[in-house]
């Protein structure tokens, strides 16, 4: 029996794809611990070019490999499993440090090596799956379905595993899944079973024998955690890990931590000792020790974020982002009778409740305090309760923007602020504290976003409701549910005078009052708020050096301020610290896109130059195939990413939404792919037409339906929201699973690996491009572009009518 006569290794392909997607998600997690989050994202994004490289490789050698399909398939699968462990370990061993790019000319070389090493597992996995697709082109629908369903289950499994296991254990488990794919593949292909299973067993023993310490990924030397641990007597006392981040809690007995951001220069007492909670080695949040000495807690009233307590007497307080409990402590110390606090990370909440219960003096045992685990918006959307004060915690260890700028942030959008404002008692305050950046960025964006929220609620006297003060380090914005009174203005003036804070806005403020204690070159904050409150707001926003357009749910990038016009100025002034003007997250993403495009282009063009049968196909056909597979490669992820935004807002949990969208899209698309194999080749184009029309109609409809659903299901149980989201998304994804297999089986064999490579490259470009587009024009536009791409794909699909002219 020849290989070709055998059935495709469906289960093995599914297992391999399961492990491949799990690897992608896990590597992003592992490298986010070592490097900056966006650098990790960039590295893994580019490593996925291994898929594109596989297309090029297969285009050149697939005929030779297909002659011994079983050995080629199983060999590549085994190599994948080996690389799951070896690649990240070798990449970690490279002396690459993102920061060192600034001074070390060898760093780009190390970076390229890191990319190449990390692309290896994806390259081998794509080789195996690609070979199966090429050989079983007639049954491509089933093979592709196995690929997609496996990937969908892999995304669910890895996220679930990351909640219960350490990342290094998950790494072993993924390698084991890859080895299982070898064993199952050997059985399905009836190929030298004992040899392949024996090899997989030996490899499994080796994987299990690796010491756990070898598989651990530690933060890089420039991460805040590494810096803190250099101090003698400092140690990590607790570690936790989940898809939301790797938590390390440090204690320093000799040099206690003292985090009191925004503390007045007039403060005279030292804060009590603290523990530090780091997430992925950065983003420090303090846990403050219980103290019977009232002077040590005096700092709680000496920061800008205490302003609401100093000008009013809030009895009921909601803290958004409990973190290590600083705002809860502040609220109780400054007179709040009832404090609700919301924390999204269950592991942080559990630490406060258990391990650090005694350390905090039972902060959460206080009957006046209730800690809720969940998304702040989800918490509020499901409740009608109003508060005297809604307090947003200051998070992170430094200025906003920078490398954190491209995380979607649904807590600082027009829609989010409207929700917070709706939960204020009459005369209640919303208080938001931010790091003070020079020149101002996020505080002015905050004001612009809040003004848009107030206007959307029909408020016409915003200028009378706002208060903005600042120290040298932080700014605090208050928004009152009502007009700020002259008595409150007096208290604001007195507080700022006593604590050496500057007033930047309150009703009736005079220019002579601003920029007194913390002098800036110009009164940028006062001028900015005045301009935003005036008639020329749009002109001010447009002409400002940073992007301070209001953040919305459609463009939820509150912390991205990048504007291209700053780049030239920053570059010109790079010797004078001009780079501090730049938002590195955006630039890294743009750089990733450029690299992905260039590498993709090379990978797509290379087979044309080196593989004669491909070059001999007609030019028009090649253009059609290129356009078609690029369009559907881009569009699939565009749709996924656009609906991820909707699902985050529907289920109110980023990880659940991510898993839900990925799993639903991939599994349902797998079902669509499997179903497409029933369609006769002669009817492929008609089926394609129906699928594209359905995708466009469903896309347009769901865009509206999801928005309505968010309102309707606001207080529904999570299960209902998850099921509704998945149920609505599935039909769309089902249709999206059809265009790839319908076209792949209709093209000539030399074009198949090429198309596979194009699809791989387009997928890499797609993820990066979608984020950049969302930053600039919003997720809605990303969705419209995706639907347009499906139409373009159909327009380029006339080759599917003709069918292949020759066989493999």
């Amino acid at each position: 029996m020849t290989d070709a006569a055998l059935r495709p290794p469906i289960v093995s392909v599914a297992l391999l794809s399961f492990a491949t997607l799990a690897t992608e998600i896990l590597l992003t997690r592992l490298f986010a611990v070592v490097h900056w989050h966006h650098f990790a994202y960039m590295i893994i994004s580019l490593a996925l070019l291994g898929f594109g490289a596989s297309g090029t490789f297969l285009a050149l050698v697939h005929r030779r490999l297909l002659r011994r399909f079983a050995a080629s398939y199983l060999g590549n699968t085994l190599a994948f499993a080996a690389c799951v462990i070896a690649s990240p370990l070798l990449a970690r061993a490279m002396p690459f440090q993102a920061e060192a790019l600034l001074w070390d000319p060898r760093q780009p070389l190390w970076l390229v090596l890191v990319f190449l090493l990390l692309s290896m597992p994806f390259f081998f996995a794509a080789n195996a799956i690609g070979l199966a697709l090429i050989l079983h082109r007639d049954r491509v629908g089933r093979v592709y379905a196995a690929d997609l369903v496996g990937a969908g289950l892999g995304s669910l499994a890895v996220l679930a595993a990351l909640y219960g296991l350490w990342p290094e254990e998950v790494l072993r488990a993924i390698a084991a899944a890859g080895l299982l794919a070898v064993c199952v593949g050997a059985l399905e292909l009836r190929a030298r079973r004992s040899a392949w299973i024996g090899a997989a067993a030996v490899a499994l023993v080796a994987v299990l024998a690796l010491p756990a310490t070898w598989l651990r990924f530690e933060p890089g030397p420039y991460k805040a955690l590494s810096q803190a641990l250099l101090v003698a007597g400092t140690r990590v006392v607790v570690e936790r890990s989940s898809p939301l981040g790797h938590i390390s809690v440090i204690e320093s007995r000799r040099v206690p931590l003292r985090v009191a951001p925004g503390m007045s220069l007039g403060a005279t007492s030292e804060p009590p000792p603290q523990l530090g909670i780091f997430t992925d080695g950065d983003n420090l949040q303090p846990v403050t020790a219980a103290s019977k000495d009232p002077t040590s807690l005096a700092f709680l009233a000496q920061t800008t974020s205490a302003l609401a307590y100093l000008v009013a007497t809030p009895r009921t307080v909601l803290v958004l982002g409990a973190g290590g409990g600083l705002e809860i402590l502040r609220a109780r110390r400054l007179g709040a009778r009832q404090v609700d606090a919301v924390e999204i990370n269950p592991q942080v909440a559990a630490l406060l409740r258990t391990e650090f219960r005694d350390y905090t003096g039972g902060l959460l045992d206080d009957p006046a305090v209730a800690l809720h685990v969940g998304d702040p918006r989800g918490f509020l959307a499901a409740r009608e309760r109003r508060y005297d004060l809604v307090q947003m915690s200051l998070t992170g260890g430094g200025g906003g923007g920078g490398l954190g700028g491209l995380n979607e942030d649904y807590l600082h959008t027009v829609e989010a602020f409207r929700l917070y404002l709706r939960h204020l008692e009459p005369d209640g305050f919303l208080s938001i504290t931010r790091w003070a950046q020079v020149p101002p960025r996020d505080t002015l964006k905050l004001v612009a976003t809040l003004l848009a929220a107030l206007e959307a609620d029909g408020v016409t006297d915003a200028a009378r409701r706002l208060v903005l003060i600042r120290g040298w380090q932080t700014t605090t914005l208050l928004v009152k549910n009502g007009a700020v009174t002259p008595q409150e203005v007096q208290l604001i003036r007195a507080t700022c005078d006593e604590l050496s804070f500057d007033v930047a806005w309150f009703p009736g403020i005079q220019p002579a009052e601003v920029n007194v204690y913390n002098e800036l070159p110009e009164p940028w904050y006062y001028d900015g708020v005045r301009a935003l409150l005036g008639e020329g707001r749009d002109g001010f926003i447009a002409s400002y050096g940073y992007d301070i357009r209001p953040a919305t749910d459609d463009r939820p990038y509150f912390q991205n301020f990048f504007r291209w016009r700053v780049l030239a100025e920053a570059w010109h002034a790079k010797g004078r610290g001009g780079m501090a003007l730049l938002e590195a997250g955006y630039l890294l993403l743009a750089g990733t896109l450029v690299l992905a495009l260039l590498a993709g282009l090379v990978l797509i063009l290379l087979p044309l130059a080196l593989y004669a049968p491909l070059a001999q196909t007609s030019r028009a056909l090649r253009w059609q195939v290129f356009t078609y597979f690029t369009a559907i490669g881009l569009a699939f992820l565009f749709v996924e990413i656009a609906f991820l935004q909707k699902l985050v807002l529907l289920v109110h949990h980023p990880t659940v939404a991510f898993a839900l969208v990925l799993a639903t899209c991939l599994i349902a698309a797998g079902a669509g792919s499997a179903w497409s194999s029933r369609i006769q080749r002669t009817r492929a184009r008609r089926a394609l037409f129906v699928a594209v029309v359905a995708v466009v109609l469903l896309g347009v409809t769901l865009n509206v339906v999801f928005d309505a659903l968010m309102v309707r299901l606001a207080d529904a149980p999570t299960v209902s929201r998850v099921l509704s989201g998945a149920g609505l998304l599935a039909p769309l994804a089902f249709c999206m699973g059809m265009p790839f297999p319908l076209a792949l089986r209709a093209i000539d064999p030399p074009l198949v690996p090429w198309a596979w490579g194009i699809n791989g490259c387009a997928s890499v470009v797609s993820a990066v491009l979608a984020t950049l587009l969302a930053v600039e024009v919003g997720f809605s536009v990303v969705l419209w572009i995706a639907l347009g791409l499906y139409i373009i794909a159909f327009a380029a699909s006339s080759f599917t009518e003709r069918g292949p002219t020759c066989q493999t």
Partner: protein, 244 residues
């Protein structure tokens, strides 16, 4: 014996001119760096409130061999105007920032200076040329030891290095005319403000390890009241015009 002496003589004959050549090259590079800093200061005059730095500050920068404060493998970059790594995840600041900070605190001859965050010891060495006595604190033990040895070897006798927590300053030798805080905590420690003389100046660079976003100059008035001035080290106007 004679052979050994001859060999040593030959080696010295080869090595010494090379060392001298290196020193000459470093001195030339240092001069070029000074010219670059002068030009940078002129470009940022509006933000720094000065068109040029104090001659004493420039002279101090001209005298301190930065290449002695960095790792041997980075010496080729010693006089480039950028931060460099010194190990332990720390950096030596950009010379332009060191120059501006040293100028902002207006160190008068005979002043006493405190530095929090010794790092390589470079800033302390510059201050030692401007002040009568410099006290510098480093929390990372190996870094502090290295800096102490380096400063002693280079003859900076008026710099005292202590390994310990900078939060409490150096109370037994306080007060200070000048305080430079290169390792900024989450806030300005009250003990440091207490150890600043009335009329004294403190400067803090704020930003990441590699990019200084702003310089904060803290001034203690004669009545004890503390104010800050926040400066951009770069010429940048956020508003490009065109609004009402």
């Amino acid at each position: 014996m004679r052979a050994t002496t001859a060999l040593l003589g030959t080696l010295l004959a080869v090595v010494l001119p090379a060392v001298a050549e290196d020193e000459t090259a470093f001195a030339a590079a240092r001069q070029a760096l000074l010219r670059e800093i002068e030009s940078d200061v002129r470009e940022t005059a509006d933000f720094l409130n000065r068109r040029q730095l104090d001659d004493r500050v420039m002279a101090a920068l001209a005298a301190v061999p930065r290449h002695e404060f960095i790792r041997r493998e980075d010496r080729d970059f010693a006089y480039e105007n950028r931060p460099l790594p010194i190990g332990f995840g720390q950096t030596i600041s950009q010379p332009y920032i060191v120059a501006v900070m040293s100028d902002l605190v207006e160190p008068a001859p005979g002043c006493r200076a405190l530095e929090v965050g010794t790092g390589s010891g470079y800033q302390a060495a510059v201050l030692s040329r401007l002040c009568a006595q410099v006290y510098t604190l480093e929390i990372v033990e190996p870094l502090g030891r290295q800096a102490r040895e380096r400063l002693a070897r280079l003859g900076y006798d008026n710099v005292a290095v202590r390994i310990g927590d900078g939060y409490y300053g150096w109370p037994d030798v306080a007060p200070f005319d000048v305080i430079v805080v290169t390792a900024v905590a989450g806030h300005v420690p009250p003990p440091l403000l207490k150890q600043l003389k009335p009329g004294g100046r403190m400067v803090l660079p704020v930003g990441t390890r590699f990019t200084t976003q702003q310089l904060v100059l803290v001034t203690k008035r004669a009545d004890g009241r503390v104010t800050t001035r926040q400066m951009l080290p770069v010429a940048f106007v956020p508003l490009t015009g065109g609004h009402d």
